[in-house]
Amino acid sequence: MTASFTLLWICKWVSLAALLQTLEFFFMRPAFQESGVWRWSLIRRDFISWPRWIRSPLDLLLGDRGFDAVLGARFLAAAGLLFLPRLSPLLLLILLFSTLLICVRWRGPFNGGSDSMTVLLLLVLGVVSWNPGDPVWARAALWYIALQTCFSFLIAGLVKIRHASWRNGEALQGILRLPTYEIPPAARRLADFPRFCRASSWALLLFECSFPLALLHPLSAVFYLCAAVAFQLANFYVFGLNRFVWAWLAAYPAVLWCSGGI
């Protein structure tokens, strides 16, 4: 698999992720219109001290009609990238810019890490799209995405393993009892089994902390990526975090390409 072909695959996956995210926003429309919750007339008060040359375009783009246009452009750009046989700088720019506008509209990331991964991939693809055919840029882009993907697991593991509550399983029990994520009853009942929670915590900590080993060999990459997909599907089942599945799936071709490259 060549570097440019791998980047094209990443572009297809992240476009699919953006397309699905945008469709979700269309379904959520009543919640962010002027008659809903995240009404721009309210949120714009956060920016009242910002210079007028920033506030005026924000008012134009993030009011009801402007934001519908932003989401429409985002949908079309994502659909275009899904079918184009190359990286389009213009469409990637539209996707990146609209993703950042969505974050402004929600006073920060709408869906935490999945927004960060989406922006990271779009930024890298956007830079590469201005230098098509340059193998150095393409390789650098893939390594950057692969390393950030490894960091996303490694850092998550390292910050957890420092806490005794993660090492003895209490943290996982606590998370399974959180009301925030609307956890299915079957998964919630697992919190009543401390040994299971302890064993699962250690499996998770070992998996996350050792994830960079995926880069050592293509076989280890396949093993870790399969485990990562299973982990994120479990996260979806338990916590409802569907956007993470799609955003991280988009990054995995880079890990696969870089594996064995050390």
Binding site: L23, M28, A31, V37, T99, G108, V119, K160, G240
Partner: protein
Amino acid sequence: MKKAASLLRVLLPSWRFFERAGQVPQLAYRLLPSDPAPGAWIPCPAPVSRSWRHLVLNPRGNRNLAFHGLVERLMMDLNEWEDDRLNEFSSSVSYALVTEMVKFHLRRDSGLKEGRFQFKIFVADEDVLLSEEHALP
């Protein structure tokens, strides 16, 4: 600066997922009918069921996650609010957004068009914020 920093979080990911699993703030509201007894506290947002089709599109689930994010942001803002200006907290954007969220639920889930309500935020069993009385619409 804080607003800019929260926007920058998307550009500079920390990847510190689930570092701590402490108690989270929760929201509940109650209706204030004209008779003396207020209604029971109702958790908000109402939970939504999940199936595998939501792996592709999960608008209500993600909207609810964003609603919980509003409550957490309100608590962060409350903790950073200056003590001598606490009586002005209800004029903050975070407070207004949570108020609108309760109204949204009352209109859509309970079908109410008018009435009075109050909300509270609690952590474990301890109330940390009791709102003023608000009115629909």
